[in-house]
Amino acid sequence: MASQQKTLSMDFSGEAAVRAETPEGRSIPAGTIGIAASTILHALFFVALLILPAAGVHPVKTFHITFVDGGEAAGGNGSPASPPGPMLQASPAPARQHTPPQAAQRRKDIRHPAAPPAIARTFPEKIQAPQPAAETPTAATTDAPSLPPVPQTHAEEAFIAAKTDPVENVGLSTAAIPTGGAAYPEAAGPETAGSGNGVPFGGTAAASGSQTAGSGNGVSSGQGTAAGGSGVIETAFGEANAPRFIHRAMPVYPPLARRRGREGRVVLALLIDKTGKVRKIDVAEGAGFGLTEAAIAAVKRSTFAPARVHGKEVASRAVLPIRFRLE
């Protein structure tokens, strides 16, 4: 206020008037009171908002939204560079029982399974925020409950297991090849083995062959890990550690199921080795009318990046739910 006296020659009796005429006759200038009160109020605000919740008291309810890397909701054509879209991790699926009308066309939903019966997994419940309308909701309804378990599941499993053996054998043989020239022989090897069996593993093999190009150790050590079982982590698609799709092939909706209007949910457990090759496909939850087979065929046409623990690739047994819905 002294500086104002210097710069301006005006009637400054007002300043004194303000000071002297305060009703309570304070000697503290109003400015100091203002700053002090403001600081105290802000401090209280922050304490209420930030510190008290940490201490356990919740005067203000705040939502903690965490985002989990998950499968993408709609229309992912499995283009090579498409990343798994982030999704809001909502409360477990059984809580929701509504069917939304807004699935525009047939598409595959990848979701965390609520609690797949064959695989015991628990994951913490995350946000309670309402899901945006664009999000197709988690595992709603339409698990055809009346369908009996498909008997060919076990036969399928055995079939798949038998099919993977030639691949492993090829892995043994390529281990002998020096690492420098591993790329081509390796790519050729699994492919010939695959085609020799008449099994459409070609896509997977070629991609994983190029994946492990330059490291012949990859296949042998991956196979060793798969065979040994040590270091195999249990995970589910969408978790931070989980394997990811490099190329995601969309399953073909079986014509029989489509004609009958059958929808369903198939939960697969994929044994993916360190190189990202699918070693084994287990059906944790099957559906009838060819849905299971369509899901398995789609997985075989897809390519995966292996799971990572602390940045290192590991073999994993990953749960993958696939929902078939008609629109």
Binding site: M10, D11, F12, S13, G14, E15, A16, A17, V18, A20, E21, T22, P23, A30, G31, I33, G34, I35, A37, S38, T39, L41, H42, I65, T66, F67, V68, D69, A81, P83, P84, G85, P86, A240
Partner: protein, 142 residues
């Protein structure tokens, strides 16, 4: 560009908090001043007006600029997020989402600072107008 997220967190949000404290402090001070002013002491209406509107412009500046500062924080946060996305490919979308949420926090805080500031400013402005009119009535100026 990790420094960007630190810049947003401490720089932008800290600046917004400072502005909020300043805005509320000035508002309280002005309100106390208006309560205690003796209108009769002023002989010139312009002197009264000068005295009354002393620090109001600061509240107005804070109220109108806080959203922009918050927006700046958001833009910086999104820049950092895109940079991270570009560098790491699509490896960890969790980190991307955390970065984006941090960015949106800046806009939210900016708005939280601006809304009360504008309210205070308008209330104080109205009070100033009322005091000047009161002075005019007392001095029978037309």
């Amino acid at each position: 560009m990790e420094y960007l997220s630190a810049l947003v967190d401490y720089g932008i949000l800290g600046l917004l908090v400072l502005m909020s404290v300043a805005s509320l402090a000035i508002a309280i001070e002005r309100w106390l001043a208006y309560r205690g002013i003796a209108v009769g002491r002023f002989t010139d209406k312009r002197a009264l007006e000068f005295e009354l509107t002393k620090r109001l412009h600061l509240i107005a500046t804070i109220g109108s600029n806080a959203p922009y500062i918050g927006l700046l924080g958001t833009v910086l946060g999104i820049m950092a997020t895109f940079y991270t996305m570009g560098m790491e490919g699509f490896a960890d979308t969790g980190k991307i989402m955390v970065g984006l949420s941090m960015a949106l926090k800046a806009t939210a805080v900016g708005l939280l600072v601006a809304i009360p500031s504008i309210v205070f400013y308008n209330l104080l402005l109205r009070r100033v107008r009322g005091i000047i009119l009161q002075w005019e009535l007392e001095n029978e100026r037309r």
